[in-house]
Symmetry: D2
Subunit: 204 residues, 4 copies
């Protein structure tokens, strides 16, 4: 799993938005300590959460599973463009057979779990999929025997308010192990000076 931050809004934009409400531009220090404190106080402590929406991040998320994607997609206040399983399965056709010992090669397509048995079942499913594709069966049919461990990737644009909701819920101990890992990786991919606005569930 890798997360690349492709673009983000500067904190100064969010400070400007907040100062628009109170017409307090003259108090700005151009994104310095005063503006940073203002954003946290107004956006988080005083719950004017809409001001945080002016901070927008685009992440390129690679190597998460289709299972994890199902959960990420439940966060509807975000924009996601996902590697299509209808148009990109042909990548498997060029592969050799996946035999039981081929996990190192299969890992290019499958997310590894801590269960050998599950990984093996995924690998078998991958091989069955490869054979189905070699029979010339369309992706629109073949995708039905995709194992949910199958790796996918997406470009994901989300504002700070929705990202806070994601990180809080998905870094909790009760969240699925992979999406907890994604929450942590996303937090680490944030610009350092933005991280103070986001917190991970400590028990995560």
């Amino acid at each position: 799993m890798t997360v690349t931050l492709m673009q983000h809004t500067s904190l100064t934009i969010c400070a400007h938005a907040i100062r628009t409400c109170w017409q307090s531009f003259e108090k700005s220090d151009g994104g310095g300590e005063k503006d940073r404190e203002l954003i946290d106080r107004v956006g988080n402590k005083n719950k004017h959460a809409s001001t945080l929406e002016h901070l927008v991040y685009t992440f390129y998320i690679q190597g998460i599973s289709r299972a994890c994607l199902q959960e990420l997609a439940r966060h509807r206040i975000a924009s996601l463009s996902v590697k299509s399983s209808r148009y990109t399965l042909k990548e498997l056709k060029a592969e050799e057979e996946f035999k039981e010992g081929d996990w190192e090669r299969a890992k290019r397509y499958l997310v590894e779990t801590e269960s050998e048995a599950v990984n093996l079942a995924s690998l078998k499913a991958l091989e069955n999929l490869r054979q189905v594709l070699l029979l010339g069966i369309s992706n629109d049919m073949a995708k039905y025997c995709l194992p949910e461990s199958y790796k996918t990737e997406l470009t994901w644009t989300i504002n700070a308010r929705a990202l806070q909701n994601f990180l809080t819920l998905r870094s909790s101990k009760s969240a699925l192990w992979e999406i907890r890992k994604l929450a942590k990786t996303l937090h680490e991919a944030l610009p350092k000076e933005h991280r103070y606005l986001f917190c991970l569930n400590q028990e995560g």
Copy 2:
């Protein structure tokens, strides 16, 4: 795949909302022909699409695949509560082994495609999943070797404006065969007197 309409708003509510804008309550015929024409004219022809949002439908959708769910979930202006693959996989433990000829029994868990090879690959994945579960491996790991043909169900609440967008996009010829079937089934599940507000892509 079955779709049950569990609740819907009466057309009179939408007519009332429109008449609020123009204060034309005296022209109402209590949801009769005049009100129905008003809704179509204002909400569709004159593009005041927000007035259609007062019409809200809750569907109980059963027997669609996890693959189809991935596409349905891209429609973010809707509320979905989905059968959790983290809490409901144990249903498989009580099953006997799934051998190659057991498609009739496997169909309880898997969506059938028109490709025998894909169905067989799904059945094998189902059996592997069953064995993984019998080993006592947690659902949070086992779910990674779920085939995307695995059946799921959800309770889905959506307003008329977002449903129009869904039906238009997903009844098109270029849409995935299963979600096109879902679009058609949803349209048929609508109250007869509401269907005039929705159209399916004719080339679908």
Copy 3:
């Protein structure tokens, strides 16, 4: 200010949505005590707030000010159809002149504040508006001298999750007096058996 609840979803729909996730239909008591407790526990305490979105309410809100409407409209996860100031100002043309003592008659068009001076200023603006309209000036120009105390009405559809956010924020002591009154009135207009899911800011 009057609020009429025009339609709402039954609690059983929300319980059904939650039971879809855990496939626990057999535990349902058809919207009784067990289902009610389930909704509160899952939707509120366990923060699966999306399950509450299946509860949808349509209110007919009358007699709030344009000033209050500005604040209500900031709650974007809701559908609002508002009495149009572009199409309904002619109602004033039939009125006699509004003189200083005519507050009782002016109250049909203006929200009263606790400040006599403000009410008088609003009344003068109302009279100026009436004269502008009598000159045959279009609503699209005349609406610019509307006082923000001018009464409006709307049909408003919102789900329980967004309504909780509205009621919590807008019943707080720091909220504008009129929208606090609206929050209270909305809460009272809720079906009795739904109110336990919503709380008003006690210091409100």
Copy 4:
């Protein structure tokens, strides 16, 4: 009315999002003609409108009326932080009396319409408001006699898909004159290389 574009996403981000779906990164020309054509074809012609959501713009809009703000706020898929009429009315206290001939000075606070009578009525309301404030009446009361011509400003963040909807609806001949002017000004404030993705209603 002035509109300043404070930040915007680069077209390359949107091209990257689209290429994520088809894994066609190797065809990219780094935001050149091929990427620009791809964005228009996929996002507009092929109606994959969600890909356009990765393009996000923040505008600082100054000098529009509270009347215009009411209409802008109906576009709910956007983030707006508005000059608060609860915290910024004191600006008027330092002003001299507004007499009938003082429109040049009053224009600092009021949007001018093409109707002298309306402008005069607004000016009278402005003076009444000034006097109310000088009496020490709180903003939460005084704001009720604000004329809707009163100027406001906001920081507005919106994605390309929602902005297309705004520009199409609000540049139409049937839209309010001021919001049509805002639509045109917003379009002109867009980066030149982005404008090809947006069109104004030609009859506007």
